[in-house]
Symmetry: none
Subunit: 148 residues, 2 copies
Protein backbone atom coordinates (compact mmCIF):
# COMPACT_ATOMS: atom_id res chain seq x y z
CA UNK A 1 0.00 0.00 0.00
CA UNK A 2 1.16 3.55 -0.74
CA UNK A 3 1.91 5.62 2.34
CA UNK A 4 3.81 8.68 3.50
CA UNK A 5 4.62 12.07 1.98
CA UNK A 6 7.73 13.19 0.09
CA UNK A 7 8.70 16.64 -1.04
CA UNK A 8 10.33 16.92 -4.44
CA UNK A 9 10.71 19.16 -7.47
CA UNK A 10 9.35 18.98 -10.96
CA UNK A 11 11.96 20.07 -13.53
CA UNK A 12 11.45 22.26 -16.62
CA UNK A 13 10.70 19.22 -18.71
CA UNK A 14 7.98 18.10 -16.34
CA UNK A 15 9.80 15.14 -14.85
CA UNK A 16 8.99 13.90 -11.33
CA UNK A 17 10.85 11.27 -9.35
CA UNK A 18 9.00 8.29 -7.94
CA UNK A 19 10.08 7.85 -4.30
CA UNK A 20 11.95 4.63 -3.62
CA UNK A 21 9.27 3.24 -1.32
CA UNK A 22 6.71 3.39 -4.16
CA UNK A 23 8.80 1.59 -6.76
CA UNK A 24 8.24 -1.97 -5.71
CA UNK A 25 4.51 -1.36 -5.41
CA UNK A 26 4.39 0.06 -8.92
CA UNK A 27 6.35 -2.81 -10.40
CA UNK A 28 4.19 -5.36 -8.60
CA UNK A 29 1.14 -3.45 -9.82
CA UNK A 30 1.70 -4.36 -13.42
CA UNK A 31 4.78 -2.69 -14.89
CA UNK A 32 7.27 0.18 -14.80
CA UNK A 33 4.73 2.94 -15.06
CA UNK A 34 1.47 4.31 -13.75
CA UNK A 35 -1.82 5.85 -14.83
CA UNK A 36 -2.32 9.49 -13.87
CA UNK A 37 -5.80 10.98 -13.53
CA UNK A 38 -7.17 14.28 -12.22
CA UNK A 39 -9.24 14.83 -9.07
CA UNK A 40 -9.46 17.37 -6.24
CA UNK A 41 -7.05 19.71 -8.08
CA UNK A 42 -4.26 17.19 -7.74
CA UNK A 43 -3.19 14.11 -9.68
CA UNK A 44 -4.02 10.52 -8.71
CA UNK A 45 -1.44 7.88 -9.56
CA UNK A 46 -2.58 4.26 -10.01
CA UNK A 47 -0.78 1.04 -10.78
CA UNK A 48 -1.80 -0.55 -14.08
CA UNK A 49 -3.56 -3.40 -12.31
CA UNK A 50 -5.61 -1.11 -10.14
CA UNK A 51 -6.39 1.16 -13.07
CA UNK A 52 -7.88 -1.78 -14.92
CA UNK A 53 -10.32 -2.29 -12.10
CA UNK A 54 -11.27 1.38 -12.21
CA UNK A 55 -11.85 1.19 -15.96
CA UNK A 56 -14.10 -1.80 -15.52
CA UNK A 57 -16.05 0.17 -12.95
CA UNK A 58 -16.34 3.12 -15.32
CA UNK A 59 -17.64 0.82 -18.05
CA UNK A 60 -20.35 -0.40 -15.75
CA UNK A 61 -21.64 3.12 -15.14
CA UNK A 62 -24.87 3.78 -16.95
CA UNK A 63 -24.51 5.96 -20.05
CA UNK A 64 -28.13 7.01 -20.06
CA UNK A 65 -27.52 10.14 -18.09
CA UNK A 66 -25.59 13.01 -19.66
CA UNK A 67 -23.90 13.71 -16.32
CA UNK A 68 -22.46 10.23 -16.20
CA UNK A 69 -21.20 10.50 -19.76
CA UNK A 70 -19.56 13.77 -18.80
CA UNK A 71 -17.97 12.18 -15.75
CA UNK A 72 -16.61 9.43 -17.96
CA UNK A 73 -15.07 11.68 -20.58
CA UNK A 74 -13.57 14.09 -18.03
CA UNK A 75 -12.12 11.35 -15.87
CA UNK A 76 -10.96 8.97 -18.57
CA UNK A 77 -10.12 11.81 -20.96
CA UNK A 78 -7.85 13.28 -18.32
CA UNK A 79 -5.98 10.05 -17.71
CA UNK A 80 -2.51 9.38 -19.08
CA UNK A 81 -0.15 6.44 -19.11
CA UNK A 82 3.21 7.57 -17.70
CA UNK A 83 6.13 5.17 -17.83
CA UNK A 84 9.25 5.50 -15.73
CA UNK A 85 12.67 6.39 -17.13
CA UNK A 86 15.90 4.78 -15.96
CA UNK A 87 16.13 7.18 -13.00
CA UNK A 88 12.59 6.22 -12.04
CA UNK A 89 10.99 9.49 -13.07
CA UNK A 90 7.69 10.00 -14.85
CA UNK A 91 7.05 12.71 -17.40
CA UNK A 92 3.86 14.55 -16.53
CA UNK A 93 1.92 15.76 -19.61
CA UNK A 94 1.48 19.55 -19.86
CA UNK A 95 -2.29 19.41 -19.49
CA UNK A 96 -1.96 17.63 -16.14
CA UNK A 97 0.78 19.99 -15.02
CA UNK A 98 -1.61 22.86 -15.71
CA UNK A 99 -4.53 21.18 -13.97
CA UNK A 100 -2.65 20.60 -10.73
CA UNK A 101 -0.61 23.80 -11.08
CA UNK A 102 2.69 21.99 -10.73
CA UNK A 103 5.54 24.43 -11.16
CA UNK A 104 8.53 23.79 -8.96
CA UNK A 105 7.90 22.32 -5.53
CA UNK A 106 5.64 19.30 -5.48
CA UNK A 107 4.45 16.75 -2.96
CA UNK A 108 3.85 13.02 -3.40
CA UNK A 109 1.41 11.45 -0.95
CA UNK A 110 0.59 7.78 -0.53
CA UNK A 111 -3.11 7.06 0.07
CA UNK A 112 -3.08 3.21 0.20
CA UNK A 113 -4.38 1.98 -3.18
CA UNK A 114 -3.01 5.03 -5.00
CA UNK A 115 -0.80 8.05 -4.47
CA UNK A 116 -1.34 11.72 -5.20
CA UNK A 117 0.74 14.53 -6.70
CA UNK A 118 0.21 18.01 -5.31
CA UNK A 119 1.79 21.41 -5.72
CA UNK A 120 3.43 22.43 -2.47
CA UNK A 121 1.08 25.41 -2.09
CA UNK A 122 -2.04 23.32 -2.54
CA UNK A 123 -0.77 20.63 -0.19
CA UNK A 124 -0.16 23.18 2.53
CA UNK A 125 -3.68 24.51 2.01
CA UNK A 126 -5.02 20.98 2.23
CA UNK A 127 -3.35 20.55 5.61
CA UNK A 128 -4.80 23.82 6.83
CA UNK A 129 -8.24 22.63 5.77
CA UNK A 130 -7.66 19.39 7.66
CA UNK A 131 -7.02 21.37 10.83
CA UNK A 132 -10.34 23.12 10.32
CA UNK A 133 -12.04 19.77 9.72
CA UNK A 134 -10.95 18.67 13.19
CA UNK A 135 -13.77 20.70 14.74
CA UNK A 136 -16.26 18.94 12.43
CA UNK A 137 -18.38 16.39 14.27
CA UNK A 138 -18.62 14.00 11.30
CA UNK A 139 -14.86 13.97 10.80
CA UNK A 140 -14.16 13.43 14.49
CA UNK A 141 -16.57 10.51 14.46
CA UNK A 142 -14.68 8.88 11.60
CA UNK A 143 -11.35 9.41 13.36
CA UNK A 144 -12.66 7.79 16.52
CA UNK A 145 -13.64 4.75 14.48
CA UNK A 146 -10.09 4.21 13.30
CA UNK A 147 -8.98 2.74 16.62
CA UNK A 148 -5.86 4.88 16.99
Amino acid sequence: MFRGVSFHTIDQKGRVIIPARFRGLIKDGGGDGIMLATMDKCLFGYTYDYWNIIEQNVLSISNKDERYRRLRRVFIGGAFDCSCDKQYRILIPPSLRDYAELEKEIVLVGVLKSFEVWSREKWDMENDKMKDDLIDEDVLKEISKLGL
Copy 2:
Protein backbone atom coordinates in the same frame (compact mmCIF):
# COMPACT_ATOMS: atom_id res chain seq x y z
CA MET B 1 0.74 -3.77 26.04
CA PHE B 2 3.07 -0.76 25.82
CA ARG B 3 3.61 1.00 29.14
CA GLY B 4 6.00 3.35 30.86
CA VAL B 5 7.99 6.39 29.80
CA SER B 6 11.65 6.66 28.73
CA PHE B 7 13.82 9.66 28.03
CA HIS B 8 16.24 9.39 25.13
CA THR B 9 17.94 11.41 22.43
CA ILE B 10 17.46 11.62 18.69
CA ASP B 11 20.79 11.90 16.84
CA GLN B 12 21.63 14.14 13.87
CA LYS B 13 20.53 11.48 11.45
CA GLY B 14 17.15 11.15 13.09
CA ARG B 15 17.68 7.79 14.77
CA VAL B 16 15.81 6.83 17.93
CA ILE B 17 16.36 3.78 20.11
CA ILE B 18 13.47 1.47 20.92
CA PRO B 19 13.46 0.79 24.68
CA ALA B 20 14.16 -2.80 25.57
CA ARG B 21 10.75 -3.35 27.14
CA PHE B 22 9.05 -2.54 23.80
CA ARG B 23 11.11 -4.92 21.68
CA GLY B 24 9.32 -8.14 22.41
CA LEU B 25 5.96 -6.49 21.84
CA ILE B 26 7.10 -5.15 18.49
CA LYS B 27 8.48 -8.47 17.33
CA ASP B 28 5.33 -10.27 18.43
CA GLY B 29 3.32 -7.60 16.62
CA GLY B 30 4.47 -8.66 13.20
CA GLY B 31 8.16 -7.95 12.60
CA ASP B 32 11.25 -5.91 13.41
CA GLY B 33 9.71 -2.54 12.76
CA ILE B 34 6.76 -0.30 13.37
CA MET B 35 4.39 2.08 11.63
CA LEU B 36 4.70 5.70 12.68
CA ALA B 37 1.76 8.08 12.25
CA THR B 38 1.10 11.67 13.24
CA MET B 39 -1.52 12.86 15.71
CA ASP B 40 -1.74 15.43 18.50
CA LYS B 41 1.61 16.96 17.50
CA CYS B 42 3.45 13.80 18.46
CA LEU B 43 4.12 10.48 16.73
CA PHE B 44 2.18 7.26 17.32
CA GLY B 45 4.04 3.98 16.96
CA TYR B 46 2.05 0.85 16.04
CA THR B 47 3.00 -2.75 15.53
CA TYR B 48 2.44 -4.01 12.00
CA ASP B 49 -0.43 -6.22 13.08
CA TYR B 50 -2.27 -3.41 14.79
CA TRP B 51 -1.56 -1.02 11.94
CA ASN B 52 -3.24 -3.41 9.51
CA ILE B 53 -6.43 -3.11 11.51
CA ILE B 54 -6.24 0.69 11.40
CA GLU B 55 -5.62 0.62 7.67
CA GLN B 56 -8.65 -1.57 7.10
CA ASN B 57 -10.67 0.98 9.02
CA VAL B 58 -9.29 3.77 6.86
CA LEU B 59 -10.24 1.89 3.71
CA SER B 60 -13.78 1.54 4.97
CA ILE B 61 -14.20 5.32 5.22
CA SER B 62 -16.40 6.65 2.45
CA ASN B 63 -14.56 8.58 -0.26
CA LYS B 64 -17.63 10.42 -1.47
CA ASP B 65 -17.04 13.40 0.71
CA GLU B 66 -14.01 15.63 0.15
CA ARG B 67 -13.50 15.91 3.90
CA TYR B 68 -13.04 12.15 4.22
CA ARG B 69 -10.65 12.02 1.28
CA ARG B 70 -8.69 14.75 3.01
CA LEU B 71 -8.65 12.84 6.28
CA ARG B 72 -7.30 9.81 4.49
CA ARG B 73 -4.57 11.62 2.60
CA VAL B 74 -3.34 13.58 5.59
CA PHE B 75 -3.42 10.60 7.93
CA ILE B 76 -1.95 7.99 5.57
CA GLY B 77 0.39 10.63 4.15
CA GLY B 78 1.80 11.00 7.64
CA ALA B 79 2.38 7.27 8.08
CA PHE B 80 5.77 5.62 7.54
CA ASP B 81 7.13 2.13 7.88
CA CYS B 82 10.19 2.32 10.11
CA SER B 83 12.24 -0.83 10.46
CA CYS B 84 14.77 -1.34 13.23
CA ASP B 85 18.52 -1.43 12.63
CA LYS B 86 20.86 -3.86 14.35
CA GLN B 87 21.03 -1.60 17.41
CA TYR B 88 17.22 -1.56 17.55
CA ARG B 89 16.85 2.01 16.43
CA ILE B 90 14.33 3.43 13.98
CA LEU B 91 15.08 6.23 11.52
CA ILE B 92 12.41 8.90 11.76
CA PRO B 93 11.73 10.54 8.38
CA PRO B 94 12.40 14.29 8.19
CA SER B 95 8.76 15.21 7.67
CA LEU B 96 7.80 13.47 10.91
CA ARG B 97 10.73 14.99 12.77
CA ASP B 98 9.49 18.41 11.69
CA TYR B 99 5.89 17.62 12.59
CA ALA B 100 6.68 16.57 16.15
CA GLU B 101 9.55 19.07 16.48
CA LEU B 102 12.03 16.40 17.52
CA GLU B 103 15.46 17.92 17.92
CA LYS B 104 17.54 16.47 20.73
CA GLU B 105 15.72 15.30 23.84
CA ILE B 106 12.75 13.04 23.20
CA VAL B 107 10.33 10.99 25.24
CA LEU B 108 8.87 7.57 24.48
CA VAL B 109 5.60 6.72 26.19
CA GLY B 110 3.73 3.45 26.16
CA VAL B 111 -0.04 3.86 25.82
CA LEU B 112 -1.18 0.20 25.69
CA LYS B 113 -1.93 -0.61 22.01
CA SER B 114 0.68 1.88 20.80
CA PHE B 115 3.44 4.09 22.05
CA GLU B 116 4.11 7.77 21.45
CA VAL B 117 7.17 9.83 20.61
CA TRP B 118 7.32 13.37 22.01
CA SER B 119 9.83 16.15 22.12
CA ARG B 120 10.83 16.77 25.73
CA GLU B 121 9.40 20.30 25.64
CA LYS B 122 6.03 19.18 24.34
CA TRP B 123 5.93 16.30 26.82
CA ASP B 124 6.45 18.66 29.72
CA MET B 125 3.70 20.90 28.39
CA GLU B 126 1.44 17.88 28.07
CA ASN B 127 1.96 17.07 31.73
CA ASP B 128 1.14 20.62 32.72
CA LYS B 129 -2.07 20.37 30.74
CA MET B 130 -2.90 17.15 32.55
CA LYS B 131 -2.66 19.01 35.86
CA ASP B 132 -5.16 21.55 34.57
CA ASP B 133 -7.46 18.78 33.40
CA LEU B 134 -7.66 17.47 36.96
CA ILE B 135 -10.13 20.22 37.87
CA ASP B 136 -12.33 19.30 34.88
CA GLU B 137 -15.55 17.57 35.89
CA ASP B 138 -15.68 15.28 32.84
CA VAL B 139 -12.11 14.14 33.34
CA LEU B 140 -12.64 13.48 37.05
CA LYS B 141 -15.68 11.39 36.20
CA GLU B 142 -13.67 9.20 33.85
CA ILE B 143 -10.96 8.83 36.47
CA SER B 144 -13.49 7.69 39.06
CA LYS B 145 -14.57 4.93 36.69
CA LEU B 146 -11.08 3.48 36.53
CA GLY B 147 -11.37 1.72 39.88
CA LEU B 148 -8.06 3.03 41.22
